[in-house]
């Protein structure tokens, strides 16, 4: 690739990756764009991107093709291979000649050679020390990536990593918001149910609350469920009051 077309290609790649970072971007689409662009930039044959799941296991989330062979190769590389090494060290792992690479990766080496790959380059996806996954580019020719290619691929991976982390923070904040709203609504419902029971029975609010709690406990229901049923009157407050009287015959 000559200087000008390379520059144009790089600009286009950054624009393509940045373009997927819109308001409601799809992470898989972002990562797919990243791996396709990087594969083209370094003239690799195939590429795959793996992210760690909540248990810390690497899972393939995007690849240049969906062939079973490539998927299997990526899984082997994530078990014992360059991907997992890159993930654990947080630094790029370059394997210029798979045939003569570390002997502790026998399954990975065999599968890579079977598919005609002679070299692989693994790039960490990391932000401020946190490694979230790796991107792996396979070539049919042996040899390491040039310094500039390594830097460009890392820069693109960094942009995409920010996108992934932002999306995760946003998903977490959504959960915080939902939990809070649920807690507030639950409390409102419980107070309304206390009022309803109190109105029917003449019990104080505290006693009404005890009645609701006892009913929930006896029926192995949540207080929220019982309160909802009282407020929408699928359990009548009279019925709860009957139970209360039966339980406490003499006052």
């Amino acid at each position: 690739m000559n200087g000008t077309s390379r520059e144009a290609r790089l600009n286009a790649a950054f624009v393509a990756v940045a373009d997927t970072l819109t308001d409601h971007y799809d992470v898989v689409e972002l990562l797919h764009t990243l791996v396709v662009e990087c594969t083209a930039i370094v003239a690799a044959t195939a590429g795959g991107l793996m992210l760690a799941d909540p248990l810390g296991e690497l899972q393939l989330v995007a690849s240049t093709d969906e062939s079973a062979e490539l998927v299997e190769l990526m899984q082997l590389a994530a078990g014992a291979g360059p991907c997992v090494d890159c993930f654990h060290t947080g630094t790029p792992v370059s394997v210029p000649n798979i045939a003569t690479s570390a002997s502790e990766w026998p399954a990975f080496r065999a599968a890579a050679r079977e598919q005609g790959f002679q070299s692989v380059h693994a790039t960490p996806m990391k932000l401020r020390g946190e490694v979230i996954g790796t991107m792996n580019l396979f070539k049919v020719a042996p040899g390491a990536l040039g310094e500039r290619d390594v830097a460009v691929v890392q820069a693109l991976a960094d942009v995409a990593t920010i996108g992934v982390i932002q999306q995760r923070i946003s998903a977490e904040s959504q959960i915080v918001a939902e939990q809070l709203q649920k807690a507030l609504e639950s409390r409102v419902l419980i107070e309304q149910a206390k009022g309803a029971v109190s109105q029917v029975t003449g019990l104080s609010m505290d006693e009404a609350f005890e009645t609701l709690r006892q009913y929930a406990r006896d029926g192995n229901l949540t207080l929220h469920a019982v309160a909802t049923a009282v407020v929408d009157r699928s359990i009548s407050a009279e019925f709860l009051a009957e139970l209360t009287r039966a339980r406490r015959p003499a006052q």
Binding site: Q179, Q181, G195
Partner: protein, 227 residues
Amino acid sequence: MNDVVTDDPPLSSDPAESLCGLFVDLVPVSGASITVFGRPGAHSTICVSDGIAVELDQLQFDLGEGPRFQTARTGRAAISEDVLTGVHPEWPVFGGAAARLGVGSVFSFPIRIGSALLGVADLYRRTTGPLGDDATKRARSIARRVAAPAVARAGRSATSDEPDSRDSPALRREVHQATGMILIQLEVSADEAFDLLRAHAFSQARTVEDVARDVVQRRLDFRDVTS
């Protein structure tokens, strides 16, 4: 209250009043309140800085309108530089009522965590006029910083079985208890019961909490007030 002004006040385990205090100390406003909300009616007032802030908080709750509701709906700051003469179609009644309390301008900022809208910081000034760019930036930045402690506090309060106390965030529990009583009295839904309670309070020029207390203490039965 204004004796110590630092750029980076500590936040960690401060009592909630200091969350409102941050706005009052660091932004040129007369007072502030912070509210966290679920659905309509499920508002939890985390803190109020002074008596007028209390009344503004109550007024919005009672009327079911005001800059807080606009911010909650749009996710954007709702600002009125002159509550009396300004045009705010979303809250036709609140403006005049706020002016009668001696309020000149109001500034409601959304409180978010990430992209989620969780509450509103209501700031007011006795004077009219704009807040200014720097103060607005500062208010937004404080709104970001108070989000997590405000939410933690609202969550603790909502999951506690202790009744509201003067110092704890007010979820207005009696209002919801009264709603529960009215829905039995009139055989209506909870939403209808709450609307009737609010409408009755408005027609009597009383606060919703005040009327709710009468209901809970059985001094008022809605079977007698159907209008």
